[in-house]
């Protein structure tokens, strides 16, 4: 693919006779220490399987499935962590607790609504941007255009949430600007409201929408668009009939990713929200802190959130992505 000379060449070719070759590797693999240990295992069929699969399988079972399994188990216990003199027994009370009080289920509903709003807004806002980068920008400057969008996300969750405060605070940039141009007398309360939470969520997660959309749209062959334009399709027809259906995969995975992330945010509602906007992760968290910690209830609530999120995403995938496109 590349033109030009290798760094070691540097224009003046190096003769093969002057180059250094590795003889250490032979010393290692021909040493008895290697031949009777790793070498022997690598020669043996089941040894190879063990080498390849041993660590990954143990890790994935223990660290990927283990915590979720453990959370499920705890959510069905009457008490945890174990205390002397108290015997934990199997119970469904922790799940029943959730439905017993508005104080518990209301935040989940709120989380759900915020996540849905953030997902919808992100999709509408990010789609044109992804399309622009994938199809309008020339191939040469595409990665630069993409980089400009990625860069702000290296800053991290907390810093980005904090920067939103600069914009929305009572003496923040927006309010000061509105006052300066004479639109308002007194600052509008934007921070610690539903608005600031939604705004912050969108600001936090739009990258997760951008990347799947971009890669889906980028795969649509340009010739297809040209062909349809040739057949007299206007920009809107082209968008509705060709681009949108063909980028469906990107829409589904982008929306799922954004929704799941929004359901699981913890810092944003604490920093940007007020007492009336508390979300479900705060509810769950409260079970794990303070003197009155009730882990099993927290675990049960987390399971409920996990189930609710996954079911929603599953349904969404079925509805939007379910009818498989016929490819031509």
């Amino acid at each position: 693919m590349a033109v030009g000379t290798h760094a070691a060449g540097g224009g003046i070719p190096v003769r093969a006779a002057q180059m250094k070759y590795s003889t250490g590797i032979a010393r290692v693999i021909h040493s008895p220490l290697y031949r009777y240990t790793l070498g022997a295992v690598a020669e043996w069929r089941y040894g190879r399987i063990l080498l390849l699969a041993g660590v990954p399988v143990v890790w994935m079972l223990m660290m990927h499935i283990g915590p979720i399994y453990e959370m499920l188990r705890i959510s069905l216990l009457s008490s945890y962590p174990p205390q002397p003199g108290v015997e934990a027994r199997f119970t469904l009370d922790n799940y029943a607790l959730f439905f017993s009080e508005k104080l518990y289920w209301m935040p989940l509903l709120r989380s759900f609504i915020y996540a849905s709003i953030a997902t919808a807004v992100t999709l509408v806002v990010v789609y044109p941007v992804a399309y622009y980068v994938a199809k309008v920008v020339s191939a040469g400057s595409r990665s630069r255009a993409l980089l400009l969008l990625l860069a702000p996300f290296w800053a991290g969750e907390i810093i980005r949430i904090f920067s939103v405060i600069m914009l929305l605070a009572n003496r923040g940039a927006v309010n000061v600007l509105l006052r300066e141009i004479g639109l308002t007398e007194r600052p509008i309360q934007m921070l610690y409201t539903s608005f600031s939470i939604s705004f912050g969520l969108v600001y936090m997660v739009c990258l997760y929408m951008l990347l799947p959309l971009y890669s889906a749209i980028e795969k649509i062959p340009k010739s297809l668009l040209d062909a349809s334009a040739d057949l007299g399709a206007g920009p809107f027809t082209r968008f509705r009939r060709i681009i949108l259906p063909l980028s469906r995969d990107g829409i589904v995975s982008g929306c799922s990713l954004v929704f799941l992330t929004c359901m699981g945010v913890f810092a944003a509602p604490i920093l940007l929200g007020g007492p009336t906007t508390s979300m479900f992760s705060e509810t769950i968290s409260s079970f794990f802190h303070g003197a009155s910690s009730r882990w099993p209830a927290g675990a049960a609530f987390a399971m409920i959130m996990l189930a609710a999120s996954l079911v929603t995403v599953g349904l969404f995938m079925r509805v939007v992505g379910g009818t498989k496109q016929r490819t031509f």
């Binding site: 693919m1 590349a2 033109v3 030009g4 000379t5 290798h6 070691a8 060449g9 070719p13 190096v14 003769r15 093969a16 006779a17 002057q18 180059m19 250094k20 070759y21 590795s22 003889t23 590797i25 032979a26 010393r27 693999i29 021909h30 020669e43």
Partner: protein
């Protein structure tokens, strides 16, 4: 002398599909042997079994007299030149070539000498420190060849290595490959579906079809005396005339085809009158003239198609009603001939008979 490679009753099946069936093959040291056949004929599987990448379902494989049937690829003294070269993209040309030597535990000085020797052989000394991505197709091909030769294998296996090159370069590489084989004296086992490649380079051609050896021999005799209709049609262009034997006489047979009697050399066959048989007649054995030619077989015909191809002219000649013969003649032979009334003729020695039960 003991053969360097021996396949003994080797059979390889994938599920219910039999890729190689009852293969018995001995390869002599220092020969250029080609496995030739259409895709799916089992030639690549044979090569991969010798390389150690497939294990035979039955039978055994001997390399220099040693049973290597169950030996893994890294422990057998054969090396492969892969179809897409498989050069290590992160290593320089010299490092690629040295790879096998480094693993063998050859010392620094010797590796240096061997690598530069090999690069000199293909005139790539200037390219030692280049990466494979900085080479042309032909150069990569040469590096791949040298990398496989470097550890001094008993047999060098080449898996359709020229198929990625363009036609002109392929011809140059054919000559070069043969020259390198002669210079190094190595046993080459070459796999291809291209009959021209096989004819150009090989000492021995093994024609394979449906997992079996169809025929093996040196290129000239295989071309001149094909043992089956498959070999006759696969190796070069041919006219295959289905006929009946009417009589035999001292290594020659008289057969009837299309109302005429053809005298043909019987070859190894001893046909009897009444046998159904194929006559193999190569297009270049046919001569055309205005007057009656003085050869054993001659007949009148009409030229139905004439294509000028520079150093030769390709003809379709109709004999009788609807029987077409392909002929290749020198352009001067057909200059000024009337298209509707010519003589075609060929000698008895130019033809071969093959039994029709082999016809597919």
């Amino acid at each position: 002398m003991e053969p360097v490679v021996q396949f003994e009753n080797v059979r390889k099946s994938f599920g219910s599909f039999v890729a190689v069936d009852n293969l018995n093959l001995n390869i002599e040291r220092g020969k250029f042997v080609t496995l030739l056949g259409p895709s799916g004929c089992g030639k690549s599987t044979t090569l991969r079994m010798l390389g150690g990448f497939e294990t035979p379902t039955e039978g055994r494989i001997l390399l220099s007299g040693r049973d290597v049937t169950m030996v893994p690829p890294n422990r057998r003294n054969v090396n492969i030149v892969f179809q897409d070269y498989a050069l290590f993209p992160h290593m320089t040309v010299a490092k690629n070539i040295a790879f096998g030597l480094e693993l063998k535990g050859v010392d620094q000085k010797q590796i240096q000498r061997r690598v530069s020797e090999l690069l000199e052989l293909v005139q790539l000394q200037e390219f030692a420190s280049r990466l494979p991505s900085e080479l042309s197709g032909g150069q990569r091909q040469r590096v791949a060849l040298m990398r496989a030769l470097a550890p001094d294998p008993d047999v060098l296996l080449l898996d359709e290595p020229l198929s990625a090159l363009d036609a002109k370069l392929r011809q140059t590489m054919q000559i070069e490959l043969k020259a390198i084989q002669e210079q190094t004296g190595k046993t080459f086992m070459f796999v291809t579906h291209d009959q021209e490649e096989a004819l150009t380079m090989s000492d021995t051609i093994v024609v394979m079809n449906n997992g079996r050896i169809e025929q093996m021999g040196d290129p000239a005799s295989l071309y001149k005396r094909p043992g089956s209709a498959f070999v006759a049609t696969f190796l070069g262009e041919t006219n295959l005339l289905r006929s009946d034997v009417v009589g035999t006489d001292a290594g020659e047979a008289a057969v009837r085809w299309n109302g005429m009697t053809i005298k043909a050399s019987a070859g190894a066959l001893s046909p009897k009158a009444g046998d159904a048989i194929y006559v193999v007649l190569r297009p270049e054995a046919i001569q055309c003239s205005a007057g009656e030619p003085g050869v054993a077989n001659r007949v009148k015909g009409r030229i139905r198609q004439r294509v000028f191809k520079g150093n030769h002219t390709s003809l379709k000649v109709e004999i009788g009603e609807g029987h077409l013969l392909n002929a290749l003649v020198h352009p001067s032979e057909v200059e000024g001939l009337s298209l509707d009334d010519i003589w075609v003729g060929w000698s008895a020695e130019a033809t071969t008979l093959i039994p029709s039960r082999n016809a597919s």
